[in-house]
Amino acid sequence: MARNILVVGELEEGALSSTTAELVGQASRLADGGQVSVTLLGSGAGGAASAAFEAGADRAFTSDDGGYDDYNSDPWVGAVENAVGQASPDAIFVAQSVVGRDMGPRIAARQGSAVAMDCINVEDDGGELKATRPCYGGNAQATYSFATSPAVATIRAKAFDPIEPRAGASGETVDLGAPADSRTTITGRELAESEGLQIQDAAIVVSGGRGLGGPEGFETVEALAEAFGTNRAAVGASRAACDLGWYPVSQQVGLTGKVVTPDLYVAIAISGASQHMAGCSGSKMIIAVNRDPDANIFATSKYGIVGDYKAVVPALIEAVKAAG
């Protein structure tokens, strides 16, 4: 059954975000002859539209107005509502991002419909869209159908692969105009201190938990990340470690922190509470060092070393360095 799907796109430094390309790709797989539209708001939207067409979109609703650059709820919701009115989508996909967490429910409410948040899968099941998402801190997953239309889903980064780019593809562009007034005034923005590689972009994430015993344990964790190479490894932390003030909240991995999907996730002295696993279970491989052989982290790890991190991690650093 053909279905029209609208993707609420996002820009990263003026270019199509990788998650938007993934969402557009999945929309094109599920459209079944229907139309895939995308909204792109802010400086660079016009150029990003070309990338969206190559990623699978048929139509782009854009505004290059810099007034959209810093996400503000009301004008964004207004612009997307405008696009929804023209595209008449059966489904709306939004990234589970700072934008999507805010937009998803508001768009659903205004369309008289429902949203499934933080989905890891949206699929066709006998003509019906079904959305699957983790819940209960990652202990369980729930699959939902929608009693109302359009079905709205916010979708996790890297839940889907983009399609092979359709080189030279083009599509229709519709202007969404200038941002409307907002009930919200942004009075300041402050970037968290984080040098170098962002944790979500790292191929290897080395994380430390409460079992480190103190903030100084993170020096060992950082040294291991450094041994892997600062150009591909970043340091994360469990919520317990962040709550204790041992490491910055910006590096927190878990349900209420960052969701990371590296090639290799190295869990040092992390018990593996479900809410932590919800932030790293999408990693290609998890390995763990823990003193407790029964720690939950080993249930999802491919390799593990049972032992005191103070002895194991320095040896691991030397072995990684020796391996070049």
Binding site: V98, A140, A142, T184, I186, S250, M285, V306, A319
Partner: protein, 268 residues
């Protein structure tokens, strides 16, 4: 001023994965033995945010706790009352059961309109059971009030709410006119632990129970009848990983063996 704190009682999220079970026929979590239901942790933080504003203002600001749930949710209400809130309202009705985030927000919105003079509503960033994180937003839409989500700091003065919210790469500060809704994140800090005396005082505070009749809600529009999201299946994801514990006489041997494995798997 009059603040509302929305509080939800949930199965204890500290239940270890080994004790977490689902009844596949009803798609419900089977309560784990030895684990009592608790106030969702983020709602406790939301209550803390409201209390700090009241204390800083030093005025006669009233804080009302709202909870939709079963009779047992009285415990969640009492906990927020013990923290320092003034009154509680339990929204309890068979008609409210089996709903979704949309119907929950409709019931809460009706209760807030019923209170009449509310200036701000404080919600947790998400309930730590379903982890949706949308009731606060849907409530704001139902009330047609502005909303700020993921707050790590909230101030209210002179008819304005100033919120510092958590972004992916930092923070932003926003202002909105009251009445408004805010959802509070864990970055705000820990909620207070009530003292024994406060717990005893809380027992004397008023908790009223309201049904769809009290709120003039059509029972067919809420609960399972009004739900827009249908739970098809609740399940425990299967892990296909079998851990290989790396043995060795020394940490050095174990480390070298592990690195060799990673190289063989082409991860390094």
């Amino acid at each position: 001023m009059h603040f509302v704190v929305c509080a939800k009682q949930i199965p204890d999220p500290e239940t270890p994965p080994s004790a977490f079970k689902i009844d596949a026929t009803t798609n419900e979590v089977i309560p784990a033995q030895g684990f009592q239901p608790v106030l969702s942790q983020f709602d406790g933080i939301a209550a803390e945010a409201a209390l700090r504003i009241k204390e800083a203002a030093g005025d006669d600001t009233k804080i009302t706790v709202l909870s939709m749930g079963a009779e047992s949710a009285q415990a969640a209400i009492k906990q927020v009352l013990a923290m320092g809130a003034d009154e509680g309202v339990l929204l309890q009705d068979d008609a409210f059961e089996g709903g979704d985030s949309h119907t929950t927000a409709q019931v809460l919105a009706a209760a807030i309109k019923n209170l009449g003079d509310v200036d701000a509503v404080f919600c947790g960033r998400q309930a730590a059971d379903w982890d949706m994180g949308q009731v606060g937003l849907l409530l704001a839409e139902a009330l047609e009030w502005p909303v700020a989500i993921l707050a790590k700091d909230v101030q209210i003065a002179d008819g304005t709410m100033t919120t510092t919210r958590v972004l992916a790469d930092g923070f932003e500060t926003v202002t909105q006119s009251l009445p408004a809704v805010v959802t509070v994140s864990n970055e705000f800090g820990e909620p207070r632990y009530p003292k024994l005396q406060q717990i005893m005082q809380a027992a004397k505070k008023t908790v009223t129970t309201q049904t769809h009749d009290d709120l003039s809600i059509n029972p067919g529009s809420v609960g399972a009848a009004g739900a827009r999201l249908k739970l098809e299946r609740l399940f425990i994801p299967e892990s296909d990983t079998q851990v290989e514990l790396i043995e060795g006489d020394t940490p050095e041997e174990q480390a070298q063996a592990l690195v060799a494995k990673l190289q063989a798997d082409k991860v390094l």
